[in-house]
Symmetry: C2
Subunit: 116 residues, 2 copies
């Protein structure tokens, strides 16, 4: 199958250079759960693991752990472990994640407008 490379695409369509790279963005906030998690942590503040789990319909422990770990790696959430029994772990949105607020608002406005 013949597909276009990044270099070719830019060569033939130089005006594409000013569009931001969706694939890179998707790596950070793509997938089924990341936006839901971020939305809660950004707008509702710090949450514990099981709190998040109960707030997100359908998510499994496995997926929640995976996604939180990925978000942590990408510096979008911080994880704080308390040395208690039973365990207590809190997740908080970083400044980098809080900067997404504007995007979430734009999305919300669009959804409201589109929904009629």
């Amino acid at each position: 199958m013949v597909t276009t490379s990044e270099a070719e695409a830019l060569e033939q369509h130089p005006e594409l250079a000013d569009l931001c790279p969706m694939p890179d963005i998707a790596k950070l906030i793509g997938g089924k759960w990341k936006l839901i998690i971020l939305q809660i942590l950004i707008f509702k503040g710090t949450k514990r693991f099981n709190e998040l789990r109960r707030m997100i319909p359908g998510v499994t422990q496995t997926m929640l752990t995976n996604q939180l770990r990925a978000l942590e790696r990408d510096k979008l959430v911080t994880r704080k472990v308390y040395a208690e029994v039973p365990p207590k772990v809190e997740y908080t949105a970083t400044q980098r994640a809080l900067d997404l607020e504007e995007m979430f608002h734009a999305m919300h406005n669009w959804w409201l407008r589109a929904g009629d």
Copy 2:
């Protein structure tokens, strides 16, 4: 596996009601290609099928067709077929898609800020 239902989640956390439904939004603009396609049609205007194909690195005919069909079903793009040989088909962003401009800008700003 015990997961939370939508009803349970809202019952236990009524403040979630004002967050917009990410799963619904993901159905419209989620996936690997839709945002890239929309970005081009919104900011660069109407394009033909093969024009899009050359502008999007790595996309195959099959996927481009699928995604454009899905976007058409969701009234985010319109498809105009010209009765010519060789075939000519043009894709254009609808007003509903154009309303996403604000969200794209917010995303872009975030990316620029985050990228240092």
